[in-house]
């Protein structure tokens, strides 16, 4: 039966998450001028409060499902601006779970694993990867050479799952390797100076004669590794829902001070232009929320859909841009001031249509599938 009613357990978990997001929001600006600072494991206000992810693990059978709830928990984290307790959605961990052998997954499952795909040339096209992994038969090791940029958790992770081109007498193509922190030849560059999401750890990685044992070769097929994006993309859209929820709430809050409130019965000719524009965005927000949950529901029931996550991601990326741009229009010039959260939302929100596949890349994936075109036919 079609239902959008949250269970009692859902509500309990989300209620706590909302309270924590409100507490965390006071720390949201601390990283603006201190970009080298890593997000703390937990802010002091977390003391004595339950860990919402632990609540979810405990109550899972009574919830709408771990994947749906996880997406909604990230929504709350991002609504607060920073998470009260660090809860990494580390794509590397998902990729390892999907593509790694069971013993590989066992070995690193409790570590934070960054994912290293992007290089300075053509990040949207993994086929352009230049980093190499050369087989040293004598040592039984792979030797990695190359550079990755824009890597989330580059500094704070325990290991990185890196994509490299094989140099091997019998094998070629792209493959992934686990490189643990502290491996000689792996170095982390300086934190990127970003427009927004400054609390996120983003830095380049360099691999120079970096040797890893054969065990670290994640020899699953690349397609299945890239499928991990199908799980994470709706979560990125949930981030966008969080940032835009905060932006919309702030803007409505200010409008209320001059007597403008949402009225769900007034038509465009009966209301202010400001309220009407926000109403249109509210409608898009709800539609996006629904589609994010749809992607996660499908994933819970039958595994990630081919294009459902891309649909959610494309909607989230576009929503983030439109909402934060329009809120500044509606608020006027004071919206530019760093005394208010809106200029920060505007800067933070812009990443969601870029990382984990740009909006264009999502549309390529969707268009190929619906039109039945190969990457060669539509690129």
């Amino acid at each position: 039966m079609v239902s959008f009613a949250l269970t009692r357990a859902d509500r309990a978990i989300l209620k706590e998450a909302k309270a924590q997001a409100d507490l965390a929001s006071r720390h949201a600006r601390e990283f603006e001028h201190d970009e080298d600072r890593m997000l703390p494991h937990a802010f002091p206000e977390a003391e004595g409060r339950p860990d919402t992810r632990a609540m979810l693990a405990h109550l899972e059978p009574e919830t709408s499902g771990a994947k749906i709830l996880t997406a909604l928990l990230y929504l709350e984290d991002w609504r607060g601006g920073v998470p009260l307790r660090e809860a990494r959605y580390s794509l590397g961990n998902t990729a390892l779970r999907i593509a790694g052998a069971p013993e590989q997954y066992e070995r690193w499952r409790n570590r934070t694993i960054a994912i290293g795909l992007t290089e300075s040339v053509g990040g949207s096209d993994p086929a352009s990867t230049r980093t190499t992994a050369t087989w040293d038969a004598a040592a039984g090791e792979w030797v990695i050479e190359g550079e990755k940029i824009f890597i989330t958790y580059a500094e704070s992770c325990d290991a990185v799952l890196v994509l490299a081109r094989l140099v091997h007498p019998e094998r070629r193509g792209l493959s992934a390797f686990m490189v643990e922190k502290g491996t000689p030849g792996l170095s982390v560059g300086r934190q990127f100076r970003k427009m927004g999401i400054r609390f996120e750890d983003t830095a380049p990685l360099a691999f120079s004669a970096c040797r890893v044992p054969a065990f670290n070769h994640i020899d699953g097929d690349l397609k299945s590794m890239l499928r991990s994006f199908s799980e994470s993309r709706p979560v990125v859209a949930a981030y966008a829902l969080g940032v835009t929820r905060a932006a919309l709430d702030f803007t409505w809050g200010r409008l209320a001070e001059i007597g403008i409130a949402p009225d769900y019965d007034q038509g465009p000719t009966e209301t202010t232009a400001a309220a009407d524009r926000l109403m249109s965005l509210e409608a898009e927000w709800e539609a996006t929320w629904t589609v994010v949950l749809q992607a996660k529901w499908i994933e819970q029931n039958e595994g990630p859909g081919k294009i459902d996550s891309s649909m959610a991601k494309a909607m989230g990326g576009g929503l983030a841009r439109r909402v934060t741009q329009t809120c500044i229009d509606v608020l006027g010039v004071c919206g530019l001031s760093d005394a208010y959260p809106i200029e920060k939302a505007f800067r933070d929100a812009r990443i969601f249509d870029i990382y984990e596949g740009t909006g264009e890349v999502q549309r390529l994936i969707i268009a190929r599938e619906i039109l039945g075109y190969s990457p060669k036919e539509l690129n």
């Binding site: 079609v2 494309a314 999502q362 268009a367």
Partner: protein
């Protein structure tokens, strides 16, 4: 518990409506638009789906709003105008069945069990500010009953309706009154030619001091009726949007320009991707509002926002449909221009069962 699964009953109704839409509604849509009326046979066949009959049933069915939204979406995929023709009766029947007094149900719903189509409307929206009388519809106490003054704009199939559920402002807020179309001082203006949905023969209804007895006042507020009408409109817009998308998809693969199918160009392919994204989102944001209305006293926010999203996106999809067909989009031999006119017409409405 969050779920996107339709029930077995909903799936069956969906399949029947889908079949009807493909076999009968779609092939007849163009001629009906040109003629400005539906063939009797088509209306009868649509009635045979049994939607209004079961909506008028006193036995509460499971998730009536979800069921109706699913069915209307499928019919609109064939012809949005025909879906609206049914929606009037559905809206009226649901309102009276769920909110009416026992006497009202007996008086007004028996007809819905007949084999001949029954036409009814929920007239919620007053004439617009620039056209017509521009006056709000009001009802005041008059003796033992009420007197209603005002006008309702562009009511679908107005001349064929036997009964109307008319909303009017009273001292206790907006209320609904069941009004017989033949009531004295109720005037149905000649049908107007309209931009789209032409077969609906939309006409203004003027209530010039129409008197109704107290027992024709629908108990309770109009909230649910209005929410339901927005959900129905969302469903129809969703069906229309999907029709445009599905019709355009094969065309861009077949149409060869500059030596290759236009679908192989991103400027075209990405539009199809966006149409697909939005059509899916309209469907589910609408069903979400429907499910919410089925299990809550009201769904004002989600219903309104679903309708708003659907209005904006369906118009955009229909607009792109015309564009992707080029000149063929503009000529009446192809359905695109009709869908565009229909999308513009539907997307300016506030709810389905009235304007």
């Amino acid at each position: 518990m969050i779920s996107f699964a339709l029930t077995e009953e909903q799936t069956l109704v969906q399949a029947a409506a889908k079949q009807f839409a493909a076999d009968e509604a779609r092939p007849a849509a163009r001629a009906a638009d040109e003629a400005g009326e539906f063939p009797e046979m088509l209306l009868r066949r649509a009635w045979d789906l049994g939607l209004a009959k079961s909506a008028a049933d006193a036995e509460p069915m499971d998730q009536p709003s979800v069921l109706n939204a699913v069915a209307l979406g499928e019919i609109a995929h064939g012809d949005a105008a025909l879906a609206v023709a049914l929606a009037g009766a559905l809206g009226f029947a649901r309102a009276v069945a769920s909110q009416g007094t026992e006497a009202q149900r007996e008086r007004h719903l028996a007809a819905f069990q007949s084999d001949a189509p029954v036409f009814a409307a929920v007239a919620t929206r007053d004439a617009g500010w620039f056209c017509g009388q521009g006056r709000a519809t009001r009802a005041g106490r008059a003796g033992n009953g009420w007197r209603i003054e005002g006008a309702k704009a562009l009511v679908p199939l107005a001349a064929r309706c036997d009964r109307l559920l008319v909303t009017a402002e009273t001292e206790e807020g907006v209320r609904g009154f069941i009004v017989e179309a033949k009531s004295p001082r109720l005037r149905i203006e000649p049908a107007r030619g309209t931009l789209g949905m032409r077969a609906l023969q939309m006409a203004d209804i003027v209530l010039d001091g129409v008197e109704v007895t107290d027992d024709e006042l629908l108990p309770g507020a109009m909230r649910r009726v209005i929410d339901a009408s927005r959900i129905a409109l969302t469903a129809v817009l969703g069906g229309l949007a999907r029709a445009v998308y599905e019709y355009t998809l094969p065309y861009v693969k077949e149409r060869v320009v500059h030596g290759e199918p236009i679908g192989r160009k991103q400027a075209v392919a990405f539009k199809l991707a966006d149409m697909h994204i939005a059509a899916n989102a309209i469907r589910w944001t609408g069903l979400r509002a429907a499910a919410e209305l089925d299990s809550n006293p009201e769904a004002a926010r989600t219903a309104r926002l679903a309708q708003r999203y659907a209005a904006e996106q369906a118009l955009k999809i229909a607009d792109e449909g015309v564009q992707l067909f080029g000149g063929y989009g503009f000529i009446r031999e192809y359905p695109l221009e009709m869908w565009y006119r229909n999308a513009r017409s539907l997307s300016v409405l506030d709810g389905l069962a009235g304007v």
